[in-house]
Amino acid sequence: MKDEQKGAPRTMPIQSATFSNPVNAEIRRAAATGIYDIRGGGAKRKLPHFDDLLFLGASISRYPLEGYREKCETSVTLGTRFAKNPIQLDIPVTIAGMSFGALSGGAKEALGRGATMAGTSTTTGDGGMTEEERGHSNKLVYQYLPSRYGMNPDDLRRADAIEIVVGQGAKPGGGGMLLGQKISDRVAEMRNLPKGIDQRSACRHPDWTGPDDLEIKILELREITNWEKPIYIKVGGARPYFDTTLAVKAGADVVVLDGMQGGTAATQDVFIEHVGQPILACIREAVRALQDLDMHREVQLVVSGGIRTGADVAKAMALGADAVAIGTAALIALGDNDPKWEAEYNALGTTAGAYDDWHEGQDPAGITTQDPDLMARFDPIEGGRRLNNYLKVMTLEAQTIARACGKNHLHNLEPEDLCALTLEAAAMAKIPLAGTDWYPGKPGTSY
């Protein structure tokens, strides 16, 4: 360095937006290990979401209901198309499918307890139905999955509804993996596999391929269950218009649509972050498919993927959903990622709020584990109480918003109650940008 340059101002170090610290860290991790990252949860990247929509509220043109005292119904009936016994729920927030194996038996019990207290349903997952969840769930949806782990006709008959899982938002088109660390004797027995081996969940069903086959599969399930149970079809947020259309064609009573924010127990990070669509982009397309078939409200639409608050519930329903499902939020309500375990999260190389290695079975909160010592930390009765409280708050929040929009039932919320804060949200949700009557792609406009 020349003498005259010493002490001169230097260019400030600038981190690359493209090669950011997290990106570089992942490159180094990949270079060191030679394996992609596997984790739980849903997409963590920032996505257009319900936060990008606002309710307009009542004004001179709309007449509000009194916020605390006037009636605002929250009930929903699922499965009115063909099933003899549709499911009646007190609130439109359901618990999404999560497996015993991924979750402890106590966590499944807590989900059942909380959902039952709140008057809603919970859902099994890969691995079959446990006594904990059947015994504590007044309304239990039995998932019919590609792996068919633990699948048996007795459980099919004692379920309140059947959900055929075609895909999920975290990994549309992908299967799953339950690593050997979580395969206890009980999990192994339920899945009919040796203890300790990694258990692959197939990405497609073994005995049907397309929608024509699916229609016959649904016929079989209905015949076995005396046409009593509502049949749901769950799809990941990929091609919502066509998937919804084909699900209806195949005979679904209910379509469950899961956006890419929806969680999984374990899959590749690259899959979670780069495959599928955010739920905001899916709802209106699914509703359009139902409307084109004259099936909106006849076939119910349940949406999931990043539902956190009563505002999210109200916005999803204003866009045309009949109900929502929560998974990650329910686990957080139970105590997952609670800062009280911060020291232990740190010991695992993470922090509360960021812990997503659910597949490794070391969850300090005792929820996503099969380790007896960790499971003993979790109290299913207290967990159920917390979940019920959370569901109650979400419902009250949604009611508050609905009343302010002049609605005496959450189902009466409509797209006209909303505006969008961003162009992206306006385009995806087909909701006018705030301060305008326009959204990108609006019929009658050329832009």
Partner: protein, 225 residues
């Protein structure tokens, strides 16, 4: 003997009638006529009754069977005896894809040939095929026995877990992690019983045994394609 005309009385009436049979029913023998390729015939049965279907069926015949014996005097469409728990299903003719898929127990006998993915993801069922089987059979098969008196197609036993596969004829190719294994006396004994149960006159000594090399049991990225 109860006779049920499927064409005249319909599928719903058939299955609800069969479901109503209690464990101690005295109506233990049923004959179903005019199946004409209908789907979901005799599904979800749960009683020790014997069903004789006079003709060929469509998809999922005898699906999720428990306890019952179902004899099909014809051929069957895809997914026959899928997810069977117990009992016995005997097909006099051929079987389409996914025969015995995900079956947890019971015995499926196919006296003709079985198409692709026979025994896919089987979880304890015993399947005995008198003829040949198609490609990708016993894919991800977890437990139970698959006996093939004829030949097996491509990729037999791909990603196999603990199911046993016995083949008398040729195997076009083995799937990932499926290997030929020694036929020890205990396997001969198991196979002899299966052959007798399936009404086969083949000799156990003529068969080769295939099973899992167990190299895919724990995730290893080097095993990814």
């Amino acid at each position: 003997m109860q006779t049920f005309d499927l064409e005249a009385q319909g599928l719903r009436a058939l299955n609800s009638t069969l479901h109503a049979q209690a464990a101690n029913t005295n109506q233990t023998h049923w004959e179903i006529v005019n199946p004409k390729g209908s789907h979901a015939i005799a599904v979800g049965l749960d009683a020790p009754i014997e069903i004789n279907i006079k003709g060929s069926t469509g998809y999922y015949c005898a699906g999720m069977n428990k306890q019952a014996t179902v004899n099909v005097h014809g051929s069957v469409g895809p997914g026959t005896a899928e997810n069977m728990m117990s009992g016995m299903v005997v097909v006099e003719g051929d079987a389409s894809q996914y025969a015995g898929a995900t079956g947890h127990g019971g015995t499926l006998v196919i006296k003709g040939n079985a198409s692709s993915r026979c025994g896919i993801s089987m979880k304890g069922i015993d399947i005995i095929v008198h003829g040949n089987i198609g490609h990708m059979s016993a894919f991800m098969a977890q437990s139970g026995n698959l006996v093939v008196c004829g030949d097996a197609g491509e990729a037999l036993g791909d990603s196999l877990y603990e199911a046993r596969i016995f083949v008398r004829g040729s195997v076009k190719s083995l799937g990932a992690d499926c290997i030929e294994k020694e036929m020890r006396p205990e396997h001969i004994a198991i196979l002899e019983e299966l052959l007798e149960r399936g009404g086969c006159d083949a000799k156990a000594s003529e068969f080769k045994r295939y099973g899992s090399a167990r190299q895919l049991y724990n995730f290893n990225i080097d095993n990814a394609y």
